[in-house]
């Protein structure tokens, strides 16, 4: 195989493009601009960490099936881990979102980073909701019968039946987490490609 043949390979081109877009020093940086010095930055990594705990506790719940946590004290504890990691996840995510809003973090060609973050937030809400309605307890009975009217009124209820526990569980453990994780990965990669948004240019006025 000739050198030019290798150069034309899809794999070679894709690797070149990826490395050009996100060289290792950008993907795993060892320095950061001095303005990245605020507690608000903690909430992004907290959201990611909580997502990892959410997924880990969800996987533990999946091992013994959806009824396990109702009948086992260990299972109930794992469910508690799942619940509280979700609460931390949303708390951190909302603070992160508001922080990024007030930093106008879309500046400098970062609109796509903002948008993937917003869509991840909305998908996460749907993921949590499907979890609440597939708990197979009184809460899921009440929440699903309350929520059905809103979704049915849009016409979507014909395809997304919140009273169908099996459908909701599948969306909760397969489809929505897959989308949420992919979007999160894309969001983080975009943050690494574009870097953290710099502060507003006020120093011009200060120096004047």
């Amino acid at each position: 195989m000739s050198y030019s043949e290798i150069e034309r390979q899809w794999t070679t081109r894709l690797r070149r493009r990826f490395v050009h877009l996100l060289p290792p020093e950008k993907l795993l940086p060892d320095t950061q601009p001095t303005y990245v010095s605020s507690w608000i930055y903690v909430f992004g990594v907290t959201t990611l960490s909580a997502l990892m705990v959410v997924i880990a506790s969800g996987c533990l719940l999946a091992i013994r099936g959806p009824q396990w946590w109702h009948t086992s004290s260990v299972g109930h504890f794992v469910n508690s881990l799942h619940l509280w990691s979700v609460e931390i996840f949303f708390f951190a995510m909302v603070v992160h979102l508001w922080g990024k809003y007030f930093m106008a973090a879309w500046r400098g060609g970062r609109a796509m980073t903002w948008m993937t973050g917003v869509v991840t937030f909305l998908v996460s809400i749907a993921t949590a909701f499907t979890g609440y309605v597939s708990q197979s307890n009184f809460d899921s009975q009440w929440i699903s019968t309350q929520a059905k009217d809103g979704i049915n009124a849009t016409g979507a209820g014909a395809y997304f039946n919140v009273l169908n526990m099996g459908q909701m569980l599948m969306w909760h453990i397969v489809l929505l987490p897959l989308v949420a994780v992919l979007l999160t990965a894309l969001h983080v990669l975009l943050v690494r490609v574009k870097g953290v948004v710099p502060p507003f240019e006020e120093h011009v006025e200060v120096n004047a």
Partner: protein
């Protein structure tokens, strides 16, 4: 060559300041450990709620009259589900967003016939009930007007319905087979057989609880239990969960709209709130491109708190 005008809410100047050491792997590792520990502490201290699901058996034993009256409402077509419309039936045109009747357009894709699904089919599944078999035969061979007349007579008499010694007590002599059907369905429910009959209509294996949940929601018992658990408060209910737990607090804006006019008084509240939330979500998504909305961060100057150290260092230099 033309130079582009600098737009402060869109553009940034290249960073010409300094850099400081940053161990991203160490930071991520510490964050995961701290969040995991915090999760364990919260789980140990607060646990999580798990109130048993209500069954039709528990409902009909705890409130047999409510069950019998609900069964009657499924039979006479006055229940919530019977009058619901899409996606369950054509009982109403459903809610409208201006000229758009979205649910009606999609149609009854999850068909529910309250008479057949909640009353007749489950009763047919009861074995060795000669009187019931005879009543069901009488029902199926009767004309629609005769059925309506029986049901109407039973409905009129139901203002004095009661339950005693395991039987539904009602004085409805001109109601044909209806008294026996309602009584036997109540007995079936109290034995637990109706729970099973409603979920096994699709076969042996099932994970679809649409029918029993719709039946439960048509009665008062589920709502009363929710009231007892402080889950209602009009429609905040969807974000709440039992006990003193935060629930889906992130749905506060969605549930908030149901509390305020015009949504709180509108027959189209659900579709209006969904429409509004869709618009707000798109607004949030497109914030970087919406003049005015994207300027708020610069104008409110909250960023000075966030980048406090940066601006302090600029002022010193």
């Amino acid at each position: 060559m033309r130079t582009k005008k600098f737009r402060p809410d869109v553009d940034v100047a290249p960073w010409k300041g300094g850099y400081s050491p940053y161990d991203i792997v160490k930071e991520a590792t510490i964050a995961v450990i701290v969040v995991a520990l915090l999760t364990v502490v919260l789980a140990v201290v607060f646990g999580s709620p798990d109130e048993h699901a209500i069954t039709i058996k528990t409902w009909s034993n705890a409130a047999p009259v409510d069950f019998a009256v609900t069964a009657l409402s499924e039979l006479n077509g006055t229940s919530g589900v019977a009058k619901y419309g899409a996606p369950y039936n054509t009982g109403s045109s459903g809610q409208a967003l201006g000229p758009l009747t979205l649910a009606k357009w999609v149609g009854p894709r999850i068909p529910v016939n309250t008479v057949a699904d909640f009353i007749i089919d489950p009763l047919k599944a009861l074995p060795n009930q000669p009187l019931l078999t005879q009543s069901l035969k009488q029902w199926s061979s009767a004309s629609p007007s005769a059925r309506s007349s029986w049901v109407a007579n039973y409905t009129t008499a139901s203002s004095n319905i009661s339950f005693a010694q395991g039987q539904v007590v009602i004085n409805a002599p001109s109601a044909g087979p209806v008294p026996l059907m309602i009584n036997d369905l109540t007995e079936m429910a109290r034995s637990g057989a109706l729970d099973q009959a409603l979920v096994t209509q699709a076969g042996f294996y099932t994970t679809d609880y649409t029918l029993p949940l719709l039946f439960l929601a048509d009665g008062s018992y589920l709502a009363n239990q929710a009231e007892r658990q402080h889950l209602t408060g009009d429609r905040w209910g969807m974000m709440n969960e039992t006990g003193n737990y935060p629930g889906q607090a992130w749905l506060w804006l969605y549930t908030f709209w149901y509390q305020v006019p015009p949504f709180s008084h509108s027959g189209n509240a659900d579709v209006l709130v969904w429409g509004l939330m869709m618009v707000l979500s798109v607004g949030l998504l497109l914030t970087p491109f919406i003049p005015g909305l994207r300027s708020i961060p610069r104008l409110t100057r909250v960023y000075r708190v966030i980048w406090r150290e940066h601006y302090q260092s600029l002022e010193k230099s």
